[in-house]
């Protein structure tokens, strides 16, 4: 079932398009990655979903109901531009932000303690925010976003500013939240985290949606009949495939990256190959999201 439906959204800033006619659906209880280079329109889309800015055209539906301000206030939203009150203590600040989300003080204290423990911040309750490192402040912001256990989480660039250890910590918490039934939308221009996290993605470039769907399906669609083979001997020339690259491994063993001219079954390729070479390994080359991203976004595609 789809939790969010984005229907033909357009937005321009003083005549300059930020989003042009973007439509998307985001399934319930899954992690949705909103990808795109800097300035593609990701943050604008998120700000429209959270009703922080108003779209010029189009509608956003949550649970098949047009999204309202009151619905938005139940979302957990981690903005891209984020900070904290510098002079406030970590504990007080989190209590304040949770109370604004509607938690009672006692409930807030209870949950915040659990979260601070989970994210290794237990001893920081009484410290001023200005004494925190950037990564720690990011974790505090993350807690503020999830503490009221929202059904929908929107995280704008959640991993920026984290070292790999902390990024992993937060990544696991996000997966955990998904398993508990939350729907998570996050935007990023860094692809490393996407494949292990996202169930579905949409790629936005220059205000337009370029592709969307489940990660698996997109990869399937984007593969181009490319294979990696390890072999000894000499590859036949003028066959039905191109050799894209070739490297020498140990001894006589060589590795080649080949591409079929036209779609055909792997077995046909193997039949062709074993006539002339000794085959040691054969695997289909499935493009990474990163490769798809670069191929779709790079200027040569314009």
């Amino acid at each position: 079932m789809d939790l969010i439906k984005i229907d033909h959204i357009s937005k321009a800033y003083s005549g300059h398009p930020a989003l042009s006619d973007v439509s998307l659906t985001i399934p319930d209880k899954s992690i949705f990655g909103l990808l795109g280079p800097n300035g593609a329109g990701k943050t604008t889309l998120i700000r429209i979903i959270t009703k922080i800015i108003q779209q010029d055209q189009g509608k956003v539906f949550l649970n098949e109901e047009e999204i309202t301000y009151d619905l938005v206030r139940k979302i957990g939203y981690l903005p891209e531009e984020r900070g904290l009150y510098k002079k406030m203590k970590v504990g007080e600040q989190l209590i304040y932000l949770s109370q604004l989300k509607g938690l009672s003080r006692t409930e807030a204290v209870k949950r915040i303690k659990i979260w601070l423990e989970k994210l290794d911040l237990k001893s920081w309750w009484n410290k001023n925010v200005e004494d925190l490192s950037k990564g720690m402040a990011q974790k505090v912001q993350f807690i503020a976003t999830v503490v009221h256990e929202p059904r929908l989480l929107i995280l704008d660039e959640p991993f920026s500013g984290f070292d790999p250890v902390n990024a992993d910590l937060v990544k696991n918490e996000i997966l955990d939240l998904r398993d508990k039934g939350a729907t998570i939308i996050f935007s990023t221009h860094r692809m490393e985290s996407v494949e292990e996290l996202c169930d579905n993605i949409a790629l936005i470039n220059q205000s337009k949606k370029i592709l969307d769907g489940s990660v698996k399906q997109i990869k399937e669609e984007q593969k181009q009949g490319q294979y990696i083979i390890d072999y000894t001997g000499t590859l036949p020339i003028k066959e039905s495939f191109d050799v894209l690259s070739q490297t020498d491994l140990e001894g006589d063993l060589k590795r080649a990256h080949i591409k079929f001219h036209k779609a055909s079954k792997p077995n046909d390729l193997i039949t062709q190959l074993i006539r002339s070479v000794q085959l040691f390994a054969f695997s289909e080359k499935i493009p990474t999201i990163n490769e798809i991203f670069i191929s779709k976004v790079s200027p040569s595609h314009e």
Binding site: I53, R73, P79, E81, G83, L100
Partner: protein
């Protein structure tokens, strides 16, 4: 959109959370605590030091007198403030003496005609105070007058018996037919103090509001908070929270100023009495103070205080909203500077116009400036001690309420867009565009 009581409560609850935070973080600050303690001490000093110094002038001034006319006799009498010494040396010698020795002044009385007294000179190493000058002039004039009187053959005692000392009591008739004793002196002082306090409070707390908004904007907390509350709720929470800080400070100041004043007056009364006994002129000054104090009874202090609270809150809301809007358009205090002058201009004009209002508290300039919301808080506080017709007061208050509702509305529209804008160079045109942006 449907309206429900529960939803209304939720909003109130969130706004009160914001108010509470804004209030607590400021009241707990060291600067607030210091200001709260220092304020009354400063105010006490401003009120009592002049009196104190009036009673204890620097003392032990030393003047020399050369009387070449031989007419004046020993009219300058030493007291515990000034010592006079009559000398008969040559003027030039005395002048050089004055510079060498530690002599404060040299009074030179030349030979003169009674009909045309002139040529009196006061030599000094430095400028003399006005009170010293007038006291010397006074002494000389009085003596020459009495010399003339006796020259014309009139008996001094007869003349004195004709002298009358009239104390003009002023009584204002009010529409209701009642009579009200008043003292324009006391009214002036109260009006000034109240107007300046309003000016200060509006400026200080308005700027506090602006800095609070800038802090939220530049620390990027604002979008996190805005995921829970509407921009207008956040702005109102801040504006009201800071108003409460101002009220708290005001109440604390009133309480502790009262306390300190009582303390000081208790400590100073023996001194004043002693001085009064030693010097009859001083006791008349003390009398004057007493009259001024009793004249306060003629001014409706309850009205002054409650009007002060109203105009403080109203004026603060009016300007605080504008300051918040400025803050939302700025990323640093420096950015805010360009918008400050036009916004604060009416405040400054009000303060400059106070003397004008004072000359004619019931004139048309005074009337209009006390009705227009941007100037009314300061101007009306100046007028109230002189008595203002109830309909004028009510009209002015209504206008102020409309005024701050209007500025809150404008500010809210600018704020909701500005608070999320980063890296734009903002000018008046852009502010207007934000204002026009539809929801």
């Amino acid at each position: 959109m449907k309206f429900s009581f529960q939803k209304c409560l939720q909003v109130m609850n969130k706004v009160s959370l914001i108010i509470f935070r804004e209030y607590l973080t400021r009241v707990k600050k060291k600067s607030f605590i210091i200001a709260t303690f220092l304020g009354p001490i400063l105010m006490g000093a401003v009120m009592f030091l002049p009196t104190y110094f009036a009673l204890n002038t620097q003392g032990n001034q030393f003047f020399q007198v050369i009387d070449e006319s031989g007419l004046m006799g020993a009219i300058f009498v030493s007291d515990n403030e000034v010592n006079y010494e009559y000398i008969s040396t040559n003027l030039d010698l005395a002048k050089s003496d004055l510079l060498e020795n530690d002599i404060d002044g040299l009074i030179y009385i030349p030979e003169f005609e009674l009909n045309e007294p002139k040529g009196f000179i006061l030599y000094g190493a430095s400028n003399q105070s006005i009170s010293t000058l007038s006291s010397i002039e006074n002494t000389l004039e009085l003596h020459i007058e009495s010399l003339r009187l006796s020259a014309s053959g009139l008996d001094k005692e007869v003349i004195e018996s004709f002298e009358a000392n009239i104390d003009l009591n002023t009584i204002n008739l009010s529409d209701s037919g009642g009579e009200q004793e008043s003292s324009s002196g006391a009214a002036t002082i109260i009006g000034y103090i109240a107007s300046f306090m309003i000016y200060m409070f509006v400026f200080i707390y308005g700027a506090m509001c602006m800095r609070g908004v800038i802090e939220e904007k530049s620390s990027r907390i604002v979008e996190i908070v805005l995921s829970s509350v509407k921009p207008f709720e956040l702005m109102m929470g801040k504006v009201i929270g800071i108003a409460m800080v101002g009220l708290t400070q005001f109440v604390l100041w009133i309480l502790s100023t009262g306390g300190i004043s009582i303390l000081i007056s208790v400590l100073m009364s023996p001194v004043a009495l002693e001085m009064g006994a030693a010097n009859s002129e001083m006791s008349s000054e003390v009398d004057m103070m007493a009259t001024a104090l009793s004249a306060l009874g003629g001014i409706n202090m309850t009205l002054v205080l409650s009007a002060f609270l109203f105009y403080f809150i109203g004026g603060y809301l009016l300007y605080g909203a504008l300051f918040a809007a400025i803050g939302s358009a700025s990323e640093s205090d420096a950015d805010a500077q360009q918008f400050m002058l036009p916004v604060t201009a009416p405040l400054i004009i009000s303060i400059i116009s106070l003397s004008l209002v004072l000359q004619d508290p019931h004139g048309s300039v005074s009337f209009w400036m006390s009705i227009i919301p941007f100037t009314s808080p300061i101007i009306m506080m100046m007028r109230i001690p002189f008595g203002v017709a109830p309909w004028e007061l009510i009209l002015s208050m209504l206008m102020l309420i409309l005024g701050f509702l209007f500025t809150l509305w404008i500010a809210g529209r600018i704020y909701r867009v500005g608070i999320l804008m980063h890296g734009t160079k903002v000018n008046w045109k852009i502010l207007a565009k934000w204002f026009m942006t539809s929801d």
